[in-house]
Every structure is written in C-alpha cells, then in structure tokens.
Symmetry: C2
Subunit: 234 residues, 2 copies
C-alpha cells in the first residue's frame, strides 16, 4: 500500500500561525481542504496521515466530515520541528505501507499526476521529489555581501513536495539525521546521509507553497483555472 503524510504542523512564522494559514479560504475552501482533496482523489494513495499541531486534531477531523473525505485517515500530533513532524507521521503508517508521499499541507495545487509520478520514481529509485527547473539567476555568496560563485542555471532545480520514498529508506534516512542531531527541513537532504540517490520528477504545473498572504490571489486564480470545485458533503 502507498500512504501520504501531509505535514500541517509547521510554525509558519512568515504568515502568523501555520494553522491559521492552512485555514485561510481560497476558492471558498480552506487551503488544507484543497490539499487533502487531491490525495483523496489519487487512486494510488491508500491512506492519509495528517500531522497537525497538538490539540488541533478535532479541528482537522471536522474537515473530513464537512468535505466528505472517505479514504482512511489518521491525525497525529506534530513535533517541534518539521523533521519531528515527519517522523511522527512515519510512525503512524500502517504496517503494510511500502511507499510514502510526504507533502506540505500548504501546497494545495498538487496534482494527482505528480503524486503518481513521485511514487513511481520512489518505487524505481527509492526516493523521488517533485521539482521544477529554476528560472531565476542564482548566485552563491559566502558572506551575504558579494557574489562568490555564479551557478549554472541549467543545472538548478527547485524541489517541492510531494517527496516520495520507500518507507524503509526514509525511516532510515531520518533516523540517521536524528542520530547526528540534525534537523532538516527537506526530506531528500536526509537521503544524502545514507547515500540514497534521489530522482527528480518534473512537475509541469505551478505548485507553490502558500507562505505569505500575497500568495493567496495567485493560488486562487490557478485553482479556479485548473480544477473542478470542491464539493461540500450534504
């Protein structure tokens, strides 16, 4: 079976409380309901684990009733840092789970296709991540004052989520990070610690993270352009 871990417990300091951000409405539904809906629609996903701030479990559970989500889900409490939340999500997987797609709750534009593609990449390679070629010109700076290195844009990819893994691999990778006292904000970076290659999966449609309030109109426009509206269960 394949599982999804939707990380919805971040601190979200750039936009006030992360939870508030996830409950902001775009296209008349909370951001997190759009995200959840995509994993609900993805036939390749058998169960959904939502990792939320401790104490908010029932708030999230109410969404399933309101929007009629039927797929098995569990809601677990997150930890202090993103990596702790992912770890808690991995601990809540069903024993028969073989592949897991880890996704940011604040990326509501994820498509069923990219969920499938990252899972397929993980099946073949062990680890795979949704990514887009970088269009900005990026420079490296040692001191934040002047350019140290001009990077070749042709080689640069911005990685997003979903990040998909064979369950055993991501457990081992994050255990390695924890053992070293590292707290990583990116699950593929943990793979480097155990020498696990990571496949890049091109994400052909915009997949932004809702980070600041100014993102909302843009995300709403994309949602309305590309997707069927969510239905509220009666």
């Amino acid at each position: 079976m394949n599982s999804a871990v939707i990380v919805s417990a971040g601190k979200g300091t750039r936009m006030g409380a992360n939870t508030a951000k996830l409950f902001l409405e775009i296209a008349r539904r909370p951001v997190i309901a759009h995200t959840w809906q995509q994993f609900e629609r993805a036939a390749c996903i058998g169960e959904i684990i939502l990792v939320v701030r401790a104490g908010l479990q029932s708030t999230f559970a109410e969404l399933a009733a309101k929007y009629g989500f039927k797929k098995p889900f569990r809601i677990v409490a997150g930890g202090a840092e993103r990596q702790d939340s992912v770890w808690n999500g991995l601990r809540a997987l069903s024993p028969q789970s073989e592949l897991v797609a880890i996704h940011d709750g604040a990326r509501p534009l994820v498509t069923v296709e990219v969920i499938q593609d990252t899972l397929e990449g993980a099946w073949e390679t062990g680890a795979a991540v949704a990514a887009q070629r970088v269009t900005d010109t990026i420079k490296e700076s040692e001191d934040g004052q002047s350019i140290s290195r001009h990077l070749d844009r042709q080689r640069l990819w911005a990685v997003q989520t979903p990040q998909a893994f064979q369950v055993e691999i991501i457990r081992r990778a994050i255990a390695a990070a924890r053992a070293k006292g590292l707290s990583l904000t990116d699950d593929t970076a943990a793979c480097e610690l155990i020498g696990q290659p990571v496949r890049l999966v091109n994400c052909p449609t915009p997949n932004p993270k809702v980070t600041v309030p100014a993102d909302l109109p843009y995300v709403e426009k994309l949602l309305q352009a590309g997707k069927a509206p969510l239905k509220v269960a009666r």
Copy 2:
C-alpha cells in the same frame, strides 16, 4: 552623470514577442511605461537609454509623449542576443556617464530606492546587483535526472535587475565576453571574466519579471498596492 539602460528588445519566447509583453497593460498602462516611469522619477538618473527591437523606435518614443516623460532619453536598436542589446545600449551612453544601471524593461516594480542602492554599490565596488534571498530549496543536477548536490539555501541569492556598474568596468567585462565568443544573459557574470567583484544589494520589495501572462494579475496587485498611479500627460 549616471545613466540607465532599459533592455526592451528580448525575444521573450515564453510569452510571444517580447515587445507585445512590454505593451500589455497593467493598472491601465503598458508594462514598459511603469518601468520607464521609475527611472524618470529617480533623481540619481540623468539619462535613459531604451534598447528596443529595430523598427520599433517610434513606438517607444510615443510613450514619452503620452506619459509626459521629460528626462533626456535615447532609443537604440538591440542586437540578436541580450548581451548584444546591452552592448548597443552602452555605446549610446553620454561621454560623461560614469555609472550605469542596466534594467529589464519587463520588471515594472523596480523602486527608486533600489536604483539608488545599486548605483551606490557600483560607486563603491565597481559592480552591484539587486538580489533577494532564495526561499525555494535548490538542488544541483548534472544530468537533469537526479540530485547531484544539495545547496545551502542560506548562501543562495536570486539576482535581478537593476545591475549597476562603473561604465568603464562593464564595457571591459562585456568586451571580454565578446572576445571569448560568450553570450551571457546576466551582466554580472561578465564581471567574473575580468575578476571584478559584484556587490549584492538586498531588494526588499517584490521585483518580478513579467514572463508569462499568469504573472500579470500578481504584478498588477503589487503595483496598485504600492504605487501612485501613473499620470497621462494632457
């Protein structure tokens, strides 16, 4: 004297003809009129060189009449590649020009402050570029298939325009690129060829390039939020 070179001759293949893109209206004015207005407003700029597609000089000149731009300007024809257009712009500078700010015509949200700041950086260091810290997680890939290197986001900056230079330095840098047969899309990269350091100037406000039609509503919203409307000359 300080000059501005506004590059408005690109091929713009992602959004049809670049010229069409520059004449799309946001907040009821063409993109390029917003950009020009900012350099018109900047007291530190003494003359403006617009580099445009050959044959379109009069189309651009009409903007000055329509929007009442009074600052001395010249309109020159661009070349085959961006670097050729910049080169043509530099050739059109007044002999007394000491510093030059090179700017993308498709970045209408440039502020007077960041124009000043990049010129000051160029005065002190020789070369300076408007830049913002990268918020995406960026990976390097040799083959476009899998991650080769995890980059440290703390060290990464996305560079934009204006890019400002002492005139003698940027002429020498681009001459070096031309001598090597290189065609660079980024003027600071030419500085590397002559060992010229480049200062990063933090741009505190959004400064996107209008690249695809989906960018327009976002840019329009920012324009309306932050700026006085352009006035049409009577």
